[in-house]
């Protein structure tokens, strides 16, 4: 699926939620499906700076593509990571480098992802782009 299609899929999923609490529930459930993250990979150099939670991200080059795993002590953050991964994980590195962060606005989650947290997602994407270069 193309990146824009993934974004629309996720947008639809969240739009179907009747209220904010259900949106968060859906996001948390998406985080439950993340691949396991080994305890031994919870190293300082793999931490992505966040406001009130810890987030670790590990990436490998698989051929042309970037394969990532990540985790957080906060389940909502894990859910947001799952969303980012659905859009960007296992894609060619060039695609990741070319990804326009502004497209995330189409997810329609601005009202439940605070500016502070949006900055956190911004940091995450920046780290991913760095890893893809």
């Amino acid at each position: 699926m193309m990146i824009t299609e993934e974004i629309q899929d996720i947008r639809q999923l969240l739009e179907d939620c009747p209220d904010d609490l259900t949106k968060y529930q859906t996001i948390i459930e998406m985080g439950d499906d993340l691949d396991p993250y080994p305890e031994s990979y919870k190293l300082d150099e793999l931490k992505v700076s966040g406001c009130q939670s810890d987030l670790w991200l590990y990436a490998e080059h698989h051929g042309d593509c970037l394969h990532m795993i990540a985790t957080s002590d906060a389940v909502i953050v894990r859910g947001l990571v799952a969303i980012v991964f659905q859009i960007l994980n296992d894609r060619p590195r060039q695609e990741i480098r070319d990804f326009d962060v502004a497209l995330l606005a189409q997810l329609g989650i601005q009202n439940i992802v605070t500016p502070g947290r949006q900055n956190g997602i911004g940091s995450l994407i920046n780290r991913i782009k760095l890893l893809a270069s």
Binding site: D20, L21, Y24, Q25, I28, C51, Q52, S53, D73, A74, V75, I76, V77, I112
Partner: protein, 401 residues
């Protein structure tokens, strides 16, 4: 206590938020907004400089706040003089001022003693002093009730250092447990230690009494006043000859390129253009508090704190920090198997506003709990209905987390 009608943010088209983060900043009553507005609307001039009408009025309004503050923080027969009130940008500024000016010539023969539950504002400046000048920094631990262990404090005071400064919070923002501050003051004095009290959380909630301390710091925005303004009370004689922390306009007597003579207290420590509107607003805020009656505020906040603590203790998976100690103004808790920012986010989705994380008090939380927490904190406008909303929202959140 019925002061909600004084707050347009609560009464005019309220957005339904149950605001339980007053320890971070309190809401501001309309009369304070009006007072600040009037400065900008009618006599928007600088102080201590011009001789025109607006400048004179601004100066009079600004200087009039000193005796308002002094009157508010004294008790009984103590009289606070105007020269003992220094306006600052807040508690943090006040502490940095003392660390840099009063302790300017301190060294490794001297010590600063702080408590285990201090806010970063009352930790970092002393660490910087230690790193700069070798001053010893000691930490007094809390007893099992969450109070400064007075025996431990006495041990540290006895240590035969040249000079000692005890700097501690009367009501820590991370425990909500009122300390035995008068005893701390008296004990410290017995050993000739200088005493600085962090009154950021206590001044808005209980009657202050500076007879037992030498320095007191607090912030305007936590006592129903504007942001960007605070007070350092400095007992006469302590800062009069110390090197000023900040240099610039107004803190001087005369300036030449060869040398400059510094001003007298309190202006010696008020360099540059102050937060004039903020100070004027602070004055009105303190008057508003006095109109409500500080003892009424204490009683109301004690009632709300007891109510909240009982209610929280009855929620499954919730652990209150120091559950057996009564709280004033704020309650800190954690939830088993739920991260604090997750809980706070879901509470926010139900329009309950609390604080989460390390509350600018990392040392005690990392040492004792190893994780972030949630804090619900109160003002004189907080109602039991708002606490009920917190509990309902918390229970709902814990169905997901």
């Amino acid at each position: 206590m019925n002061c909600r009608s004084d707050f347009a943010i609560l009464t005019d088209s309220p957005d339904g938020t149950a605001y339980l983060d007053s320890a971070a900043t309190s809401l501001t009553p309309d009369c304070v907004l009006e007072k600040v507005n009037r400065y900008y609307r009618y006599y928007n001039a600088n102080i201590h400089r011009g001789i025109h009408n607006w400048a004179e009025k601004a100066t009079v309004e600004y200087e009039a706040v000193r005796p308002i503050v002094g009157d508010f923080i004294q008790m009984g027969t103590t009289t606070v003089k105007d020269c003992e009130i220094v306006f600052s940008s807040g508690t943090t500024h006040g502490i940095n001022l003392v660390a840099n000016s009063f302790c300017a010539d301190w060294d490794s023969d001297d010590q600063v003693i702080i408590g285990e539950a201090e806010h970063h504002a009352n930790i970092v400046p002393w660490q910087q002093l230690r790193d700069r000048s070798g001053v010893k920094l000691q930490v007094v631990f809390l007893d099992e009730k969450g109070k400064i262990d007075l025996d431990h404090l006495e041990d540290l005071l006895k240590r035969g250092t040249k000079r000692s400064l005890v700097a501690t919070s009367i009501l820590p923002n991370v425990t909500g447990i009122l300390q035995d501050w008068q005893q701390i003051g008296q004990l410290s004095r017995m050993y000739d230690a200088t005493v600085l009290f962090d009154g950021a959380q206590s001044v808005p909630r209980i009657q202050t009494d500076v007879s037992v301390c030498d320095f007191l710091v607090f912030s305007g925005h936590k006592i129903y006043g504007p942001t960007g303004v605070g007070v350092l009370y400095a007992r006469q004689g302590l800062l009069d000859d110390a090197p000023p922390y900040m240099g610039g306009g107004d803190m001087i007597k005369t300036v030449s390129f060869a040398e400059t003579a510094f001003n007298i207290m309190p202006w010696r420590y008020e360099a540059g253009t102050q937060n004039i509107a903020g100070v004027i607003g602070l004055g009105r805020a303190i008057q508003w508090v006095q109109e409500q009656g500080i003892d009424n505020i204490t009683a109301h906040e004690a009632m709300i704190s007891d109510y909240a603590q009982e209610a929280l203790k009855s929620v499954d998976r919730v652990s209150v920090f120091f559950p057996d100690s009564s709280k004033l103004g704020l309650i800190v808790f954690a939830v088993d198997n739920a991260q604090s920012s997750d809980v706070a986010t879901l509470l926010n989705a139900q329009q309950v506003a609390v604080r989460s994380g390390y509350l600018c008090a990392e040392p005690i939380l990392r040492n004792r709990l190893g994780r972030g927490v949630i804090r619900a904190s109160f003002g004189c406008y907080t109602t039991t209905e708002e606490i009920d909303r917190l509990i309902t929202a918390l229970q709902k959140s814990l169905q997901t987390l």
